[in-house]
Amino acid sequence: MNDALLIAVSALDATLRLSAPLIFCAMAGVFSERSGIVDIGLEGKMLAGAFAAAATAAVTGSVWLGLFCALGVSVAMALLHGFACITHKGNQVVSGLAINILASGLTVALGIAWFQRGGQTPALEADARFAAITLPGADSVADLPIIGVVYSELLSGHNILVYMAFLSVPLTAWVLYNTRFGLRLRAVGENPQAVDTAGISVAWLRYRSVICAGLLCGLAGAYLSTAQNAAFLKDMSAGKGYIALAALIFGKWRPTQAMLACLLFGFLDALAARLQGVELPLIGEIPVQLMQALPYILTVILLAGFIGRAIAPKAIGIPYSKER
């Protein structure tokens, strides 16, 4: 019994760690896409952020400076996206793709030039990383049945960015549903003309939204390279941005549901690591590849309308222009 609990707790523990970057990116997607700007570039912004964080932390030894740079770089890429899609009414998908490709090339090209390690940054010392935090009282309650285990093993002992990831969800929801900015942001993604005729600048509103997305992707990037790992590695985002995009759609562009989707996808990932080579009763051994593809398959099924319907913000992907 206790063993089973421990294994369950450890799988859930892994789920939290694995879904943290997805959650940041999914929240970034919420900001951008709810304002009507398609964000294929989550992956690229996260990767650029990861590089900036690790590079800065490696040079300065300060993880916070690293985080700061990650935010800056990621926001800069978000602004580039905005410049293309909002100011110049460019194709949002193409712009996102360009950002992903640029990030994947630039991080390595600059990394090689600066650190001569094949695009890798030097390994970070413990104090140049985000360390695990023990929640207050975790040790003292550890012996309590169930609750103790859950609190001390599952909830406690993550680094601060994991907690921030989970905090970003209520924060995003609060901004979206409880502030003036959120109201306008949601409106501009549905009907930008309504926003324009209400006397609000559509462009400025959308710029602010993509900046928010940039900040969150920067956090995701810093998490990858300075919390979850201790260095930047080439292409270390490994498709997480796309998984987050899938989670965003799976969560129907809503913060809480998107987080649940991230947790589901994170759990699948954690499970995949644990089910590898294990024969399951009745099913037999599940191919790892199937587990890897599952988030995408689920999302397609959802999009096809077989399990509920994901309705995108109405004005998404369409550049706003007054002229008919």
């Binding site: 549905e190 009907n191 324009d196 006397g199």
Partner: protein, 528 residues
């Protein structure tokens, strides 16, 4: 007059709104040309005019959505500079757009508050707005559930939300752009009650509409626009439907179409009890019955938006039949038939679309490509021999075909390779009509045959239609131009609010009578 007692002489004396010399171009279109307009406080001022006359543009300029190329605006006697909607709101102008500017998945409250939130936190704004909304609802009799999802509301209530939005922002001048076009009779009545209340409270209302009946029922003054200019202003009590109809639709040149009396033969198109509901759930066609016989031209008169577009779509096979059935050249078509526009063409139905830019042609195509739309599968355009068997089209045949059409219909410039967009409106229309007439359709549906076409071309097009009639085709013409319907058609039906409200031989018709019928709505019937 309904003006309230002035409380302050100097401001009440000045008009609520005064527009002077407003001009606005869109590319080559002069949407507004040196327009003047004055609206007093507490006045309901009607603006009428044909489609494209420039009404919406003028109002959008007043509301700051567009900037005028020249001209000035004063509010309460003071010159103002309205650059965007914010400026307009600041000087007390509110607008209810022709296409509602509402966020469908927002609650009424959120829509009202959008852009006018008082604080960063919504909770405070919400409670404030809720109070203000309750007060406004009481004051003007505008009841609406603040927590309802806007998109789920019927259009009449959505319009109320738009009005509330404007009032919530402190509008003293309210612009309503064709507010009744989408309303049910009951809703129109309610709207008018609201407008009366607003007037009593000292709000000025600018009401844009096509419907003369409504103008007479509610306004104090009427301005008439035509082709971007302001052609007349009347005090409502001193004018009549007849005069307004003439001012609005009247052309300086009365067209006369040379034609012999019709000689109607067998029925080619039989419309039996057709009703049709659009995806939003609005019933657009209501129990339409109509027969079209070989050798006659039937005109459908009516203000646009009264179901003519839907009728044409249905008869052309673009929209599926839902209720009732059609008999198209001997083939029965009902809700179970899986026929598309192509099948209708094979049955012998030609269709000149009302809006050539949206449907009738592809701007980016060359003329030769536009000239085969709908007939691209025809063997006439196939290459000969092996290439044809492989499915290749013969470029030269397509070009020759276009040259022939251009010669027949005097399309200028007669260049089959020119992009369709680069022809003038009249020549585009000639090309479209030529294409549809070429295959000697048994039934030809023509929407707005001469919209944006010059007088010479109008005559030519009319002649062609009459010739086709004499060759034994049945022709249905939908037009907002009364003169055209009267001179071209043999028989006229009048549509209003999705129904056929009248039918007459064209020699019995005159503009006044038609205008009156067009204005007939269930509203007026209920009122009388």
């Amino acid at each position: 007059m309904h003006s309230p007692i002035p409380d302050d002489y100097s401001t009440s004396c000045a008009p609520a709104i005064a527009l002077r010399g407003i001009s606005k171009r869109f590319g080559a279109v002069k949407a507004n040309n040196d327009v003047d307009l004055t609206v007093a406080r507490g006045e309901i001022h009607g603006i009428i005019g044909e489609n494209g006359a420039g009404k919406s543009t003028l109002m959008s300029i007043l509301y700051g959505f567009y900037e005028a190329d020249s001209g000035s605006i004063s509010v309460k006697g003071e010159l103002v500079d309205i650059k965007n909607a914010n400026d307009a709101i600041a000087v007390g102008i509110g607008m209810v757009h022709q296409h509602f500017m509402l966020v469908d998945n927002f609650s009424v409250l959120e829509n009202v508050m959008l852009g006018a939130e008082k604080s960063f936190s919504l909770a405070t704004s919400v409670s404030q707005t809720r109070k203000a909304l309750a007060a406004l609802s009481d004051q003007y009799g505008l009841a609406v559930d603040p927590d309802a999802i806007t998109g789920d509301l019927p259009v009449g209530l959505q319009q109320r939300v738009e009005i509330l939005k404007a009032l919530y922002r402190g509008a003293e001048v309210l612009i309503l752009d064709e507010p009744t076009g989408v309303l049910t009779p009951q809703e129109v009545e309610q709207l008018f009650d609201i407008l009366n209340t607003l007037r009593e409270q000292g709000v000025s209302v600018l009401l844009i509409t096509h419907k003369l009946q409504e103008v007479l029922a509610i306004t104090d003054k009427v301005s008439v626009m035509r082709a971007g200019t302001m052609v007349a202003e009347r005090t409502t009590v001193d004018t009549s439907k007849e005069e307004l109809a003439e001012l609005m639709v009247g052309r300086k040149v009365l067209l006369h179409v040379d034609k012999s009396p019709a000689n109607p033969q067998q029925t080619l198109l039989d419309v039996v009890d057709i009703s049709w509901t659009d995806p939003r759930g609005v019933e657009r066609l209501k129990s339409i019955n109509l027969q079209l016989r070989a050798g006659e031209i039937v005109g459908v008169a009516g203000v646009s938006g009264n179901g003519q577009t839907e009728l044409l779509s249905l008869l052309a096979g673009i929209a599926p039949v839902q209720q009732g059935h059609l008999n198209v050249c001997g083939t029965r078509v009902d809700a179970t038939s899986l026929l598309d526009a192509k099948s209708f063409r094979h049955l012998g139905v030609g269709h000149v679309a009302e809006d050539r830019h949206r449907m009738g042609m592809v701007s980016a195509f060359s003329a030769r490509e536009t000239a085969i739309m709908g007939f691209e599968e025809s063997d006439a355009y196939k290459s000969s021999g092996v290439a044809g068997a492989l499915g290749l089209m013969s470029s030269s045949r397509v070009t020759e075909h276009c040259e022939t059409l251009m010669a027949q219909f005097d399309v200028r410039p007669a260049d089959p390779h020119l992009k369709s967009a680069n022809f003038s409106g009249g020549n585009q229309q000639k090309l479209c009509i030529a294409r549809e007439m070429e295959h000697q359709p048994k039934v030809l549906l023509v929407g707005q045959p001469t919209r944006g076409v010059d007088i010479g071309a109008i005559e030519f097009i009319h002649q062609q239609l009459v010739e086709l009639r004499d060759a034994g085709s049945a022709i249905l013409v939908v037009s907002v131009e009364l003169e055209e319907v009267m001179s071209l058609c043999d028989r006229i039906v009048v549509m209003s609010e999705g129904r056929i409200v009248g039918e007459m031989e064209s020699n019995e018709a005159d503009a006044q009578r038609l205008g009156l019928m067009m204005g007939i709505s269930s509203t007026s019937e209920i009122r009388s």
